[in-house]
């Protein structure tokens, strides 16, 4: 076990993948000498060379499209998109090509791409540096989407993503990059909990609180705060956003009868809607209240002086917990 930051834990996972499989190749803007704008690839080009860790021209569709070609040739490209807001230029290649080649070729051509995306807000950045575009990808068949919430998971899940034969979007909660945690680097990625499984990170009995990526910490803090008020919150870290491990969520909701979901992305059409709808389908008669969504608003990610209003905070989550429980809350007296 070693104490390391979230960013370092990914770096170390990337290093192990580069060591273990000569077909792994990292691509992106500024990932070489600079080590990426967040230093996640720090030192890797120095140690593995410019053919394994490739600084690319400034063209996201080009990066993704050439990564597709490399995968065609048998490589396992790990693409870094510098910031969440710049993935849209690669959207066409991701949705039409990356996601569909396996299907198009009846399984002959595999697309073991990993697409790393630092995502989410809370770091006081300008436009396009704080977005949460995950719902665009969870709605895209052919892709898998994951998001780690802590250094240990980050370390293991990046390796699992790289060794997965399907394309994986790997969303890194950038405001957690500097968070430290214990990481067991000897943990065998194959032996560790599958990246497809959700994890109950706090047991509780009154309400189920579902979060992922950057908000897992906030959700846990909220559970601790709720406990002070005598409310027992079960917190689930989704880890996999597509597919969602509904079995784990369902088991919890069958127990608690109440569900709160939180994410930074805008509410309408966000992953929260999908989780609410699916859990309602699966255990409607166990639900004692409508699932509650505490999310970003339906606005472009706001400029930094306003971002704390957009981002789900501990207090907003607690207000949602109260709503799910039918306790006094900011909307008391209204249905939904």
């Amino acid at each position: 076990m070693t104490q390391m930051t979230f960013a370092r834990a990914i770096n170390s996972g990337l290093r192990k993948s580069l060591e273990n499989d000569p077909k792994v190749i990292l691509m992106g803007e500024d990932i070489g000498a600079l080590g990426g704008v967040f230093r996640v690839t720090d030192g890797l080009q120095k140690d593995f060379g410019t053919h394994r860790v490739v600084d690319t021209p400034l063209a996201e569709s080009g990066i993704m499209g050439t990564a597709v070609g490399l995968a065609y040739r048998g490589y396992r490209p790990v693409v870094e998109i510098q910031f969440d807001g710049f993935i849209y230029a690669a959207f066409d290649q991701i949705v039409c090509q990356v996601a569909k080649f396996h299907y198009r070729t009846q399984g002959a051509v595999k697309m073991p791409l990993t697409i790393r995306v630092p995502f989410g807000g809370g770091i006081g950045s300008p436009e396009f540096h704080s977005e949460s575009p995950e719902a665009y990808f969870t709605h895209t068949s052919g892709l898998r989407v994951v998001s780690p919430s802590n250094p240990q998971d980050a370390h293991v899940m990046i390796q699992q993503a790289i060794s997965c034969d399907d394309p994986v979007l790997y969303f890194e909660p950038k405001r957690r990059y500097h968070d430290k945690g214990e990481v067991d680097e000897s943990l065998d990625a194959a032996g560790a909990l599958s990246m497809e499984k959700a994890r109950v990170v706090a047991d509780g009995s009154d309400v189920t609180l579902v979060a992922y990526g950057p908000l897992v910490k906030t959700a846990r803090d909220a559970a601790t705060a709720a406990a002070d008020e005598g409310v027992s919150v079960e917190v689930i870290d989704l880890r996999s956003l597509a597919p969602v491990d509904y079995a784990t969520v369902e088991a919890s909701v069958r127990k608690t009868g109440r569900l709160v979901i939180t994410h930074e992305a805008s509410q309408s059409g966000g992953l929260g809607a999908e989780v609410a709808a699916s859990i309602t389908e699966r255990c409607f008669y166990h639900l004692e209240a409508a699932p509650v969504r505490i999310t970003g608003f339906d606005v472009p990610y706001p400029y930094s002086k306003l971002e704390m209003h957009h981002l789900p905070s501990l207090d907003r989550i607690l207000d949602g917990v109260d709503r799910a429980l039918g306790r006094p809350n900011s909307l008391s007296g209204r249905e939904g």
Binding site: P57, L70, Y75, A108
Partner: protein, 392 residues
Amino acid sequence: MLTDELGQGGTAAEGPGNRAEHQGRTSGNLVQLITPAGERVSHPEYDPWVQDVTDEQLCSLYEDLVVIRRIDTEATALQRQGELALWPPLLGQEASQIGSARTLRDDDFVFPSYRDNGVAYCRGIKLTDIIRVWRGNAAGGWDPYTVNMATSQIVIGSQTLHATGYAMGIQNDGADSVAITYFGDGATSEGDVNEAMVFAASFQAPVVFFCQNNHWAISEPVRLQSHIHIADRAAGFGIPSMRVDGNDVLAVMAATRVALDRARRGGGPTFIEAVTYRMGPHTTADDPTRYRDANELEDWAAKDPIRRVKALLDRKGLLTEKLEAAVQQKADAVAREMRSGCINMPDPEPLDVFKHVYSTPNSWLDRQQDHYARYLASFGDPAGAASEEGAH
């Protein structure tokens, strides 16, 4: 029809590929080795690249041209008869496709568009596989790795990036094979094609950009995409280019060999503009009378790629009755094989709709498949029940 039966041509190191003319911008002169009248004209730079083409091989090229046109005609007929959902004719572009594809080695890799079915034939792809996707029986017709050719790309220009990435992989592997990508004049306007040139130039990847300028992108004339020659685009990326008569099978071969040779020797990418013409509609769903002048068609009919090879063979005394009969027979056989392969193609099973989306199980999809299987079962006869409404 054999790939690379014509060898690699010329002595690589001394070839014109090394000359300055090829390293920089195209002069704008159209490379031509056979005139529309079937006269073999000499070209000091390009002749060496086809000097190994024997009379026998010329006859074989002629056969391919005829066979491919026959495939195109037969597929169009199959579409008219309701056996294919759609077909994108390559009528008029036979020389561009045969001339380039026949210079490839087996270990080269092709990234085509939807119209490159002549190339597919040259790669040895089964006729049934070529039309599978146009009948609506598959998302892609063949296993790319068995023939080193990707399946048809429908998103305009996308495949040029795949070819470039593949070429970067070749380079990493230290191999001397080449990736070649086919695309149209319209495609040159897409960002992806331009980004592909950026990457290819930056990494000096062994990729050939083969643009068939057939003068139309559906209803849009090429001048809407560019006021200057398409081949001139490449120079701005630092990529050498050639402008070649795309209806001249020898000229296309020579130019492609120049490009392949450069790529194999570490000289990086080349751009080829094959100037040709789409004699048919964009697809069988198109009606070109709405937008193009019949005179234009006539002009281009006079430059037909097959007629000129035939005339050349005639001049050389090679156009025997025996050859004509053999070629005809081959074309008939191919058409028959394609037709029967088409008509006898088995329909997919209902639950195939869930297949191959992922390479490993996916809980969302598995559940949907389970539900749909139960739904089908609830009718007793699965396939029948579900097919009843859908396409209303």
